[in-house]
Structure formats: structure tokens, C-alpha cells
């Protein structure tokens, strides 16, 4: 990688305080977004880039107030278009570390097109997808990730739509990075955000976020103290997939796909379990992992996929560099006088 493609590093160590904005945070008390903001404040100083080289872009929705609350260059866009705006930011200045705050309405519904295309192109940005399975800012209508049957203000008899699983959508769009975290677990959020920052290409982090007002407890079956050990698995690269209150369960690849097995039962031991390889180019296992849903499977947390591919913004710079080195046209005067011209 060429030097000029990388982000300039800070000459002084940064702290959380370097990214604190002077704006009053106006999310509802108890909203999961507060914890996401705290995690970002943990991560940004650790990345090591100059503080002026961060740019946070958002669309519309509760999630999208995010740029006002971090002291970076920030752009609060229009509904659904954060990914398109951020694409322009990154292509225009590849030296920036670009972060996108978006939600299940912003990126799964009105901005679905931009979401799949930024991923397909592998533009080097980090997408924080706040998934609370509801439209909060407009006061409680179902979203494309609301489970079928959800009773909301626009679905009094329950929704009749099949929801998106964001992970499937990311991998279907040939995503190179997908991670999942819960808003109540700042440690895992911080960890996956750091990995996202390290990844070259479009990183998508789905954050299972609670909406205390319009969809309180939507992730409780996965996140509550009572269920979380049984219904979550924290994936770690290179380690066998083990979960459960007493680490007694595991994931095995059987003839018909993934299976939940109990260690010690039917002669199963750790060697039978899948070992997580987040860097695998082949997305097959990653897709199966992303699709696991409770109660039959634990929901996969952590980095599910982090595969290496060239990024769009790097290739743009390479093509420009090649053209500059090889074209006869070095300036606009050359261009104006190229081809058929004549003197009168």
C-alpha cells in the first residue's frame, strides 16, 4: 500500500475527551445509542489517526443524530443517503477515516439500494447499523427488520412482511466485513469497532439496540441475563465455537448444515467443533453463522467475516496514478488541443 493512501497518524496520544462534542445528547434516557456513543469514544482515540481525519456521516433517524455528538468532521444527511454521501467523502479524500451511523429504517428500507452498493464496491468505510427493529423518530412504525407478526402503530394486526437479516444482506452483497454486537455490551462493541477500523473495505457492524420507548425489550430473548448465555455465541477467530452457561455447548458442521451439540454427549468433544475463521474468503460458513437465530441456535456475536479484498477507493487512486503516468494529456491545454484541430 502506498503511503499517500493511508490516514495521517496523530502525533500526540488522544483520549476520549478529544472526541467529546459540546452538544447536548438528546436521545431518550436508557436508549441503546448512549452505549454505542460510549464505545465509539473508546475506539476513536485508540485507532491513532489524527483527530481531524475522522468524518462521521449519517442519514435520518434516531441513530443519525450521532455526528452531532462526536467532535469530528460530521455530516448529517437525508433519509437513506448516508452511504451514498459517505462514498463521495471517501473517494474525494481517501485519507479520512469514515464512519457511518445509520439504522434499520435508513439503510434497510429507504436507503437499501445505497447500502448494498457501497458494500458491493467495498468502499473503505465503517457502518454502524443501529438495529432496533422499529421506526423510533416517527414514533413506532414497523421496520424492515421487525419480526413477522410485530404489532406496531402501522401493523395493528401484526406485520405480514418477512424481515431482513442484515447479515444475510451484507453477505449477499458480497460484503467483506460483518460483525454483530449488543448495545448492552460495551466491551464487545468496542472490540468489533476496532476490528472494523482495521479492516480495509466496507465494515458493517449490526448493533442490536433497544428502543426503550417504542420497542422495549425487542432483543431481550437474546440479551437478557437469563437467556444470553444460551442464546448468544461470541465468535473468536481461531477458536472452536463454544457457548452456554458452563461452556458445555458447541457448533458443529453436520451433513445438513450447522448443528448445536453438547460436549461430552454422543462422544462429541472440542475437536468436532467448527473453528472460527473470520478471514476465510469463502462466505459459506459466515453466512450460516450470520443466519443463526434463537431459540434453535445461539445468535453469533463478534466478527463473523473479515475477508481481504481490494477497496474501491484504493483502485480509484491507482487508476488515476496510472493515467497520470501514461497519458499524454497532462493539463487542460493539452486536452483542448488534442485530436483534430486547425489554425485559422
Amino acid at each position: 500500500m502506498e503511503d499517500n493512501f493511508t490516514v495521517e497518524r496523530s502525533r500526540v496520544p488522544l483520549t476520549k475527551e478529544d472526541f467529546v462534542s459540546d452538544q447536548m445528547v438528546k436521545w431518550c434516557p436508557g436508549c441503546g445509542a448512549h452505549a454505542i456513543l460510549a464505545s465509539v469514544a473508546n475506539v476513536f482515540p485508540k485507532i491513532g489517526y489524527k483527530k481531524e481525519n475522522f468524518c462521521v456521516v449519517s442519514g435520518i433517524g434516531c441513530s443519525s443524530r450521532f455526528p452531532y455528538y462526536v467532535n469530528t468532521y460530521g455530516f448529517h444527511g437525508i433519509h437513506g443517503r448516508a452511504n451514498a454521501i459517505a462514498t463521495g467523502v471517501k473517494i474525494s479524500n481517501p485519507h479520512l477515516s469514515v464512519w457511518i451511523a445509520t439504522g434499520d429504517g435508513d439503510s434497510m428500507a429507504i436507503g437499501g439500494n445505497h447500502f448494498i452498493h457501497i458494500i458491493r464496491r467495498n468502499v473503505d468505510v465503517n457502518i454502524l447499523l443501529f438495529n432496533n427493529q422499529i421506526y423510533g423518530l416517527t414514533k413506532g412504525q414497523y421496520s424492515p427488520t421487525s419480526p413477522i407478526g410485530s404489532i406496531t402503530k402501522t401493523s395493528p394486526q401484526g406485520t405480514i412482511e418477512h424481515p431482513f437479516n442484515p447479515g444475510e444482506l451484507v453477505l449477499g452483497a458480497q460484503g467483506t466485513f460483518f460483525a454483530r454486537a449488543v448495545d448492552t455490551n460495551v466491551k464487545i462493541m468496542t472490540e468489533v469497532m476496532f476490528e472494523a477500523a482495521r479492516h480495509d473495505g466496507t465494515s458493517v457492524i449490526e448493533i442490536l439496540q433497544n428502543c426503550v420507548i417504542y420497542n422495549d425489550g425487542c432483543h431481550t430473548p437474546i440479551t437478557s441475563k437469563e437467556f444470553r448465555d444460551e442464546n448468544q455465541i461470541h465468535l473468536k477467530n481461531g477458536e472452536p465455537m463454544i457457548f452456554g452457561k458452563n461452556n458445555e455447548k458447541g457448533i458443529k458442521l453436520g451433513p445438513n448444515g450447522l448443528e448445536v451439540v453438547t460436549l461430552g454427549e454422543n462422544g462429541v468433544d472440542e475437536n468436532d467443533l467448527l473453528v472460527h475463521d473470520q478471514y476465510s474468503q469463502d462466505p459459506g460458513i459466515h453466512l450460516m453463522l450470520a443466519k443463526m437465530t434463537a431459540p434453535y441456535f445461539p445468535v453469533a456475536m463478534g466478527v463473523i467475516r473479515s475477508a481481504m479484498y481490494s477497496t474501491y477507493d484504493d483502485l480509484v487512486e491507482e487508476q488515476i496514478k496510472f493515467a497520470k503516468a501514461n497519458s499524454k494529456i497532462k493539463n487542460v491545454d493539452d486536452l483542448l488541443n488534442s485530436g483534430d484541430t486547425w489554425e485559422i
Binding site: 481525519n53 448529517h76 463521495g88 473517494i91 474525494s92 497520470k324 491545454d333 486547425w342
Partner: protein, 616 residues
Amino acid sequence: MAKKKNEVVTREDVVVKFVGDSGDGMQLIGNLFSDTAALLGNDLANFPDYPAEIRGPHNTIAGVSGFQVHIGHKRVYSSGDMCDVLVAMNPASLRANLKWAKKGATIITDFDTYDEKAIEKSGYKVNPLEDGSLKDYNIIPAPITSLNKEGLKSLNLDNKTAEKSRNIFALGMIYFMFNWKQDKAFDFFEKKFSKKPVVVEANKLAFTAGYNYAETIEAISVTYNVPAAALEKGRYRNISGNVATAWGFLAASERSGRPLFLGSYPITPATEILMELSKHKSLGAKVFQAEDEIAGICSAIGASFTGSMALTSTSGPGLSLKSEAMGLAVITELPLVIVNVQRGGPSTGLPTKSEQSDLMQALYGRNGECPLIVIAASSPSDCFYAAFEAAKLSMEHMTPVILLTDGYIGQGSELFRIPKVKDLPKITPPIAAANDPNYKPFNRDPKTLVRKWALPGTEGLRHRVGGLEKENGIGNVSMDPANHQLMTDLRYEKVMKVADTLPKQEVLGEPEGDLLVVSWGGTYGAVHTAVEDLIKEGKKISHAHFKHIMPMPKNTEDILGKFKQIVVCELNSGQFVQYLKMNYPQFKYKQFNKVQGLPFVVTELSEKFNQILKEI
């Protein structure tokens, strides 16, 4: 048979139209004809006229493709109304274009294509070459297919390959008609087909066969001499409006030092701008072919925030899709140029035809009070200067600009006197200095009301902008009623203050008189020609052609007040005239409108002007 000596007629200008099936190579011979005229020193303007279908059904009207060339000893301002010479390669193209041939025009048509089936498919009931319906024209039914085949006999080509040079046979006849030497055509064949010597040979044989045929027959009684035009000294080239637009932007990028970013989605007739800029990565142009129109403009807004000279190009339906994002660029007060190469609407409308019907949309088609600069290019070569100016105004005034061109000037071409980049005006974007302790996102220059452009990556200028209303100066989100009023007023005044920097509106002809003809945008050529002709006849008529629409030049009111009558001509149902009535209600306006997907022709304009002049 003794050869009859041809009469050579010297002409001020001649219009030639080449028509045939799409795939007959009409664009190629049209361009070659026009390039030759240009090299011989003529002024010229061209227009390709092609169907919405890529290859329409063979031998039908739907499949007809054409290319019109207007060459002149005098200055040529448009591709001309009616042609003096029509080359029609089959019955369908003759039937579709006869109405564009002057009475007495020379019509060369391929006699061999007039079989029963082709005549029927073209919609003729009987063979028009035999029923006397063409008696008002100098019709030359040349057996082009068979003579061309005969001419290529020595090459032993199959029929299909041989038929590909029918167009070149016809071109040979036209060269004879203009008393031109074959060199330019032969040079072109050698350059264009350098890797296919057989094709070069075939084209040379076909050309010579056509030339010799024209010389031998007696049907061509008149040949033309169009002396070189008295053009300003300099280096010239041929340029189409869309390419000129792209190049104007490249020049603005170089002059401003801001890298060019284009976010765009292919749409007829604007796609050439996207294609052309894609070629110029060596000049640092970053071109992003987006997933849709909205991503095109939104990526450009992101690039503008980041410090690029940001552009998006589109045509009518795409402009509709970009409306919301244009509002975002207005409220964030970021520079952005939106090019709308207008076409026939509404909806998908007439994609390959030209219209001026997006003016109101450009001025007002957004939610909220949402003013921006609107300018319109007047001819293919003017697109270069209009694009340059749009980019300059947008960056220096920190506002989006809509540049209106249209399919007619976008795809038409004309001579372009090549400027030097150093002679173009300077562009000075108001970039904020690093660590400026007084920087606030919405602090403004007291004179121009323009805010500073603070580029991400710069130390000491971190800030946020967005679609929510901001407090003037400090830039925090604000729902305060008085602040919203203030910001609304400031955004409007900022755009209106651009008029302080604009040149005065010019008038062709006397500054006062009986009739002022008003037009704007791509109709310049035809309107200018019509008015100029009437001035020569001694009529008290003048012409004001507007390029600056929002804001308008400051002397507009003075100009309008000096004439007994005003007539506003435009290719819509009267959008600019409504705008003038709103801004200058003290004057009475007549209007002349046409919404047929076609440009104005000089004769219909002159007729209208004469009629108004008579009534005064």
C-alpha cells in the same frame, strides 16, 4: 455523350442532411463531411438526429437516423432549418425527411432500395420516384447499392461487407458536389481503419466510384462553392455541447485547484458528460458511476463537503430524483453543480428530443424556500464557458448551481475557438485557514454573505453540517423561529447578490425599438439568425438572449422597458415568460412557444416576428 459543364454556384451557406437506417453509417459520413468543411475554413454547426431505439426495425420510419450539417461562409449559429441537399439511403428515410428539404433541394437517394417491400414498409403507397410527387425537387435516383458493389468487385467481398460502404459511395457524390478533393476522406479512412487495410481499400474504391459517378451523370447540374468564413484568428476544433460541458468543468477544476468529482447515473441525452469525464483520470478527475440518480448527487455532496469541485449530471427525470438532495446542498451551503441536459417530458417523455421545459423545476422544484443559481448555455461551444462559470459561481458563492443545457445543444456540435486556460477567469474558493480561532461554520462574509469552506483533515476546523436548520454563525441545530426567518432570508440574499458579479445583459441590435425578442438557453442559434436577418431588412427589432436566469442580470428591467413590444420565445408552454411576468409585472409580454421535441426553425420565428411588427 458530351459532358455538360456544371454550373458552380457560390453560396453563403448550405445545409446538407444525411439520412438512412440506423446502422447505415449516417453519423460517420456526416461527421466526415463536417470535418472537411471545417478544414476548408467554413463555419459550421451539426446536429445528429437519431431514434430512441439503438437499431430500429430495418427500412421503417422508426429506424431512421440522420445527421444534419450547416456550413457557411457567413457565421452559422444553428444546424439550419431546411436542407439544400438531402442524402436518403432508403424510402423510409426519404419519407421521414422530405418535409425538411427546401423546395428545389437536391435529393440523392439509393434507387436500388426502392423495392416493393421497402416502399410498403416505409408507408408509401406507390414508389415516390415514379408517381411525380417529387417534381419540385432535383431528385437523383442513383443505383448506389449496385454501383458500389460493382466498384468493389476487385476486392471479392461478400455482399454484406460490400454494402457497408454504401454510405461512402454517397459521400463521394457529395464531395463532387462541393468540388472538394478526396484527400481528407482518404486520410480519415487510413487513420480510422489502420488495422483493417481491406476496409481502407474498400472505402477508397467506394468513394471514388461515387465521385466518378457524380461527375459522369448529368443530373448534378449545380455544384457548390462555399468560401471560407471570416472567422477570428486562432486554433479551432469541432466540439459537441456535452463534451464542451465536461471540458469546461475540467478547466474550472484546474483553475480553482479543487479536484473534480462527478457522481452521475447514465441518462439520455446527458450520458456523454459522464463518459467524457471518465476518460480524463490523467487530469485527476474522479468519476463515480452511481447506483442511481440520488446516489449520484449525494456522493457529489459528500465530495463537496470534503473539498472537491463536485458535479452531478442528468436529464429531466433524473433532476426530479435529485430534488431532495439539492435542498440538502442548499441548506448546508455547499458548492455543487447540477447539469440538466433537458429533454422532452413529462416522465420518460421524449428521451432523444430536445425541450426547455424544466425551467420551473430548476427554479422551484424543491421543498421549502430553496433558492439556487440557475444558468443556461446557449450553444454547443458555449457549454464550455457555461460549465466553467457554473463551477466558479458555485465555489465562490458556496451554493449549488443548476446548469441547464438541452439535447439539441448537448449533442449538436459547432466550431470552437480553443481558449488558453490561463486566459480564463480566476476561481477563488473561500477555503477556511487551518486553526482559524474565529471559524464558525455559518459565519459569513458581510458583503457576499458567503460562508467559509472548511475541509475535513484541516486542523482546528472540526464542525458538523446537515439538513436540519442551523443557527446563523455558530452552526448549531436550531428550531428558533427568528433564526429560521434569518437563515431563509440570508440564503436568498446570498444567491441574489451573485448578480453583483454578473456581466450586463447584452442586446443584439439597437437598445430600443419596436420589438424585443427574448430567449434563453439552447434556442440562441435560431433566434439570433431570425432577428439578425430582420435587422438587415431594416426592421426595428432587437434580441436579448439570457444565460443568467437566477439571479437575472441587474440591467434586465432597463432593457425590457425600452421596447414597444416584448416577445418571449421558448421550447415550452411559457415558463420563462411567467418568470419575467413575476419579476417585472409592469411590462406586457407576448410569447411564442413550441413543445414538439424539435428546435425552433428560423422561418417560423421570422414569420411570428413579422406578424407582431405589423401589429405595432
